[in-house]
């Protein structure tokens, strides 16, 4: 599943049209497979509703991303024809049909019209690669009557709507997509079914997404808030999580940190929410904290967001989180690990931040300004700019520290020159502040106009090493606790899998025997 809609900067987008250009047969089969997948998904939705087991629904929602890549006009047309049969849903069908180019360049002209005519779905047993077209149609007609779904469940209805919406977003039919999204929201609001929660949650996400694309994100806040209230009351944790994230996104899009802070302080993010939603939430939270100068807190959350993000997917998300994490780390006065910048997924995107880090590390104000000038526009676009200009005094601090390390006595004029400050008076105040803040150990002689550094105290005679050590231990423990919390088990699995005493005995015996065999084999190794 995708974590964020932000497109990664490095990866090349696979050409969407590749499917069309491929051979006739292959296209058909790919479509058929997709169609069958969707049918399969609908089945598990139904199963989930029957058994009241959310797991099946979650699984279906997880496939959306892979399905999304394979959607095309033909597939959707067949899906619509298959499920929207009864008279009562004809309006919906027509509406959804308007999103699809019915006359899309199709290689299946022989099959498609037939299906449309009698609203006959394709048969269950997947037609093999080599099956000639003729036989497909015959199997279709025979196998359908028994399988056509009688009533369209609201969940299924919404699922198909969602697919069409995603399709419309991908085809950039923004105006129409907004209509569709509004219609879906109407449907969701009118229903009160717990089984709908997971599908509804995804719908909220894409609803927000389409408004964001259209640049109208600020208009739906009121609606999202009202849905959030309902979701919290109904204990719909997935919906709550998604809605909180949508709202935060909408606030941060317009830099409304004040409102975002208030929202965060008022809601409790549901612990059962999926990892992806957690990752998003932690990222937004980290950003808010960074803005409020609570860098330690911000850093903690950003790192957690990175950890919760999917390992292989969502490169774009990881890039942007990493960018914030680096800046916050610099603001904390620490230097990020160089390995971060070497990561092939991130390397290119983090290049400006690498240069920034180098400037801060060297305490070189001129270089820092150069980086700012060169990448200023980029930083502004990525919303890190305001954080980065706060780094200026970190650069100066590092500069002062470097000087104090290399000189035991230096005149204020020289300091001003080295740090490129306007005057010696500036330098005097800055050094005084650095002494007060404990950055350097020195004292200033006002009449002489020079700074005299004190002898370095032995760090190991102070409590600092202990403090640092404590910090690291805490970090490790935190990491472990978070990982334990992140483990997930199916809700009822726990009681199910308890083996009986006999079973255990049998298993243990088996294991013993196996161990013995292993031992024997080992022995055989020695003649």
């Amino acid at each position: 599943m995708k974590v964020d809609e932000k497109k990664p900067e490095t990866t090349t987008v696979p050409s969407k049209d590749s499917k069309e250009t491929k051979e006739v047969k292959e296209t058909k089969d790919a479509d058929t497979l997709t169609f069958d997948d969707i049918k399969e998904n609908v089945k598990s939705i139904e199963k989930g509703i029957q058994q009241k087991e959310n797991r099946f629904l979650i699984r279906v929602m997880r496939t959306i991303f892979s399905t999304r890549k394979r959607l095309n006009d033909q597939v959707l047309k067949r899906v619509l024809n298959y499920y929207y049969i009864t008279q009562s849903v004809q309006n919906d069908k027509e509406f959804l049909m308007s999103f699809i180019d019915v006359n899309a360049p199709s290689t299946q002209s022989t099959v498609a019209p037939m299906e449309t005519d009698d609203a006959v779905p394709k048969s269950e047993p997947v037609t093999q690669v080599a099956t000639p077209v003729q036989s497909v149609t015959t199997t279709t007609t025979t196998a359908t009557k028994t399988k056509s779904p009688a009533i369209l469940l609201p969940e299924v209805d919404l699922y198909i709507h969602l697919l069409v919406l995603i399709f419309a977003i991908d085809r950039q039919k923004n105006k129409q997509a907004i209509d569709l999204a509004e219609k879906m929201m109407e449907k969701i609001t009118s229903q009160n079914r717990r089984t709908l929660d997971f599908i509804a949650a995804r719908c909220y996400f894409f609803y927000t997404r389409i408004y964001e694309i259209a640049g109208k994100l600020d208009q739906i806040r009121y609606f999202l808030h009202s849905r959030l209230r309902t979701a919290v009351l109904r204990n719909d944790y997935e919906g709550t999580a998604v809605l909180i994230n949508c709202l935060l996104r909408s606030y941060l899009e317009f830099n409304l940190y004040d409102q975002a802070t208030k929202l965060v302080s008022k809601v409790t993010f549901p612990t059962q929410a999926s990892n992806n939603e957690w990752a998003r939430y932690l990222f937004y939270y980290g950003r808010i904290k960074a803005m409020q100068l609570e860098y330690t807190e911000a850093h903690k959350h950003l790192i957690q967001a990175l950890r919760k993000a999917p390992q292989h997917e969502a490169v774009g998300f990881k890039q942007i989180v990493q960018k914030f994490a680096i800046v916050v780390e610099l603001l904390l006065g620490e230097i990020p690990d160089k390995a971060v910048f070497r990561n092939p997924q991130l390397k290119k995107a983090l290049q400006p931040y690498f240069q920034l880090t180098q400037a801060v590390r060297a305490g070189n104000l001129a270089r820092f300004n150069q980086v700012l000038e060169k990448f200023g526009e980029k930083f502004m676009k990525e919303d890190t700019w305001t954080l980065i200009i706060r780094l200026r005094h970190n650069v100066i601090k590092t500069g002062v520290k470097m000087i104090s390390l290399s000189y035991s006595k230096i005149s204020l004029d020289n300091i001003a020159q080295k740090l490129q400050l306007d005057s010696a008076v500036d330098a005097e105040f800055i050094v005084a502040k650095a002494i007060r803040d404990g950055v350097i150990e020195a004292h200033i002689d006002h009449e002489g106009g020079f700074v005299q550094t004190k002898d370095l105290t032995d760090v190991y005679s102070t409590l600092d090493p202990m403090k640092v050590f404590h910090q690291r231990i805490k970090f490790c423990l935190e990491l472990r606790n978070q990982s334990v919390k992140a483990m997930r088990f199916p809700p009822k699995k726990y009681s199910e899998e308890l083996e009986t005493a006999e079973e255990r005995r049998a298993r243990e015996e088996e294991e013993m025997e196996y161990a013995k065999e292993m031992a024997d084999e080992d022995d055989e190794g020695f003649p």
Partner: protein, 264 residues
């Protein structure tokens, strides 16, 4: 009702534009106006169309209110006015024309937050503004660069920038700011100098009169030696290394033990 508001508004603007202004009179009219405005629902409800005339009037009233409360030194009133103005500045920026005082008041608010050392709010407010604007608009750039000076420790630049405030209304907060800065500088001096001449200390703290410095020195318990020097005692940082912070250590160890218990 509407007519009444307009009448009062003209009265207020007349009063405000008079030199010298009679603040008591202004505040009196403002109170009356506020009652009328809240009765008519001056902030348009969700979805309702905005009456541009009304919105303009309300905004102007609040702007005068904000400036007036600064003039009489009522910070809380200023904050209230400004939080109402924010609706007009940001949420309705597409509906109504931009006010000539917009950035001046935003800058004032920033300075106010800075002077009261509410830095996180300062940055929150700053985020609402366009980065280009921050660099170019004189009203905004002033508090922003002040914040930078403060963070760096270039206190002398803060004193210098008192001389070139973009608007006289900034002076009120600048004075507050300078008072806090003096404290900052004094604590820096205590740490950084062994001794300093009386006159030099006065220069550094930007006192114009000697009496002020004497007063200030008394507050900070600085003693003037006979050679006209202030001597600062170097803070003994060593002594806390001598004794082991037993309490903290025990707490840490118990915490580790507990965590390990959980893991095992």
């Amino acid at each position: 009702m509407r007519q009444e508001a307009i009448d009062l508004y003209t009265k207020l603007t007349n009063e405000w534009n008079k030199k010298p202004q009679n603040f008591d009179k202004c505040l009196e009219i403002l109170t009356q106006l506020k009652i009328i405005l809240s009765e008519t629902g001056f902030i348009p409800a969700l979805g309702a169309p905005i009456d541009k005339k009304e919105a303009h009037l309300a905004r102007d009233v609040f702007e005068i209110g904000a400036q007036c409360s600064i003039a009489v030194g009522d910070i809380h009133a200023f904050e209230r006015y400004f939080s109402q103005l924010k609706t007009f500045y940001f949420d309705f920026q597409n509906e109504i024309s931009e006010s000539p005082y917009k950035y001046q008041l935003i800058g004032l608010n920033l300075l106010c937050l800075l002077a009261r050392n509410r830095l996180s709010e300062f940055h929150t407010e700053l985020e609402l503004l366009n980065p280009h604007l921050i660099q170019t608009n004189i009203y905004i750039r002033h508090p922003v660069s002040l914040e930078q000076y403060l963070m760096e420790g270039s206190y002398n630049k803060v004193f210098l920038s008192k001389g070139n405030v973009p608007s006289p209304s900034y002076n009120y907060f600048m004075d507050i700011l300078i008072r806090t800065i003096r404290e900052e500088i004094a604590s820096c001096m205590e740490a950084a100098y062994k001794k300093i001449l009386f006159s030099e200390a006065g220069n550094m703290l930007y006192f114009k009169k000697q009496e002020e410095l004497v007063e200030f020195a008394k507050e900070r318990k600085w003693t003037l030696a006979s050679d006209n020097y202030f001597y600062f005692q170097q803070k003994q940082t060593d002594h806390d290394n001598q004794n082991i912070p037993a309490n903290d250590l025990v707490m840490q160890m118990i915490e580790y033990a507990r965590e390990l218990e959980i893991i095992v």
